[in-house]
Amino acid sequence: MKALIGPKKFLDLVPSSSSLMVGGFLAVGTPEKLVGLILDSDKRDFTVICNDSSFPDKGVGRLIAARKVRKIYTSHIGTNPETGRQFLSGEIEVELNPQGTLAERIRAFGAGLGGVLTPTGIGTELEKNRRVIEVDGRKFLLETPLRADVALLKAHMADRSGNLVFRRSARNFNPLMALAADVVIVEAELIVETGSIDPDQVMTPGILVDYIFSEEE
């Protein structure tokens, strides 16, 4: 049985200056309640790892608009003018990663790898900040693991053992991030009893989840 946590305990788990992986693709699959709690708190100076910086009024975009993010690792900031503005003015640090590379780096940490060799980015500016390793005469960039203190996931359904089911395109980065953070917290649309989900249909095994958010706690 996983601990159900309410807003107060949740905020204790995400101190200022901590690093947060946040599921979602343009806010689809982002745990908006958890983001909202951080937004309404005095917590700040977060490092965020997320596919994109969303929109100013959605997902992690809200944290950026509220100037709570010091650095973001992401693949795309084009939908949030506030990220671009803060980036050009030096208020926020942005490390742009190809989307597949971002996924591989998160997975690399989660799977205990020292890195992966990818052809993506060879011959581009990315080469400047990466080691180039040749295998059988072909060049690859060495991409190193990415971790976070806390992962904030959004699931369609969680059972009380932490097993998760995602829905439609809201799955995206959520299952990867479940392996790559010290503390994994899930916001689920439905919380069901252990045994309610066919174990073949679990998308994230419960052993990877630490806490399930519940407004009733």
Partner: protein, 219 residues
């Protein structure tokens, strides 16, 4: 949704590239339109990099599913035979060579097959999203672009000047004026818009064009 005739022409020509059953990723913007112009009898499977195959049309108003969007966050549908997966699998499909085609836009593209489409330093830095992976990973890379930018300067160049998305990965470039293929010998002008001339196309192009004896026409 109205569409400029030049953009429709590009989308229509690109749509004729595919064979039945091809798996294709269409970038945001003009490439997305390509799906509307498939010839009779040709059905392709669209891959959406946010996590599924079988991307279908926009849902009827009121029946949108907030959990089901395309890579541009617009509500879409999934067709029978489609499948959802996470971002890791989505990009394994992309980088592992499991897409037949990707269609992407360009800021600049050049005769060596280099592509620049993700940033203008100091001005416009949206990020590469999935574009670098798509360009490197898809079996064939098709560029959909206006022949010239808003200032009238050519976008098809000898050599890109902006930061590159990928090197030597582009296979086909389609503009409202020309259908070009990147070959080991250089950039070949395979077809021109029926309302234009080889001379006019050559003049509007910043790249060295190889002109075969027979240049086709498209409309």
């Amino acid at each position: 949704m109205s569409i400029a005739p030049e953009r429709e022409r590009i989308a229509r020509r690109i749509a004729r590239i595919f064979s039945n059953g091809d798996v294709v990723n269409l970038g945001i913007g003009m490439p997305t339109m390509v799906g509307n112009y498939l010839p009779e009898g040709v059905s392709i499977i669209l891959h959406s990099e946010n996590g599924f195959t079988g991307l279908g049309p926009t849902p009827a108003p009121g029946s949108e599913d907030p959990d089901l969007t395309n890579a541009g966050a617009q509500p879409v549908t999934i067709l029978p035979g489609g499948a959802f997966f996470d971002s890791l699998v989505s990009f394994s499909i992309i980088r592992g060579g499991h897409l037949d085609y990707t269609v992407l836009g360009a800021l600049e593209v050049d005769q060596e097959g280099n592509l620049a489409n993700y940033m203008i330093p100091g001005k416009f830095v949206p990020g590469m999203g999935g574009a670098m992976d798509l360009t490197v990973g898809a079996r064939k890379v098709v560029i959909a672009t206006e022949h010239c930018n808003k200032n009238g300067d050519p976008k098809v160049l000898k050599r890109c000047s902006l930061p590159l998305t990928a090197t030597r990965e582009v296979d086909i470039i389609v503009t409202e004026l020309a259908y070009m293929e990147v070959t080991p010998e250089g950039l070949v002008l395979k077809e021109i818009f029926e309302g234009s001339t080889v001379e006019a196309v050559t003049r509007a192009t910043g790249a060295e064009l190889i002109i075969p004896d027979e240049v086709g026409r498209f409309s």
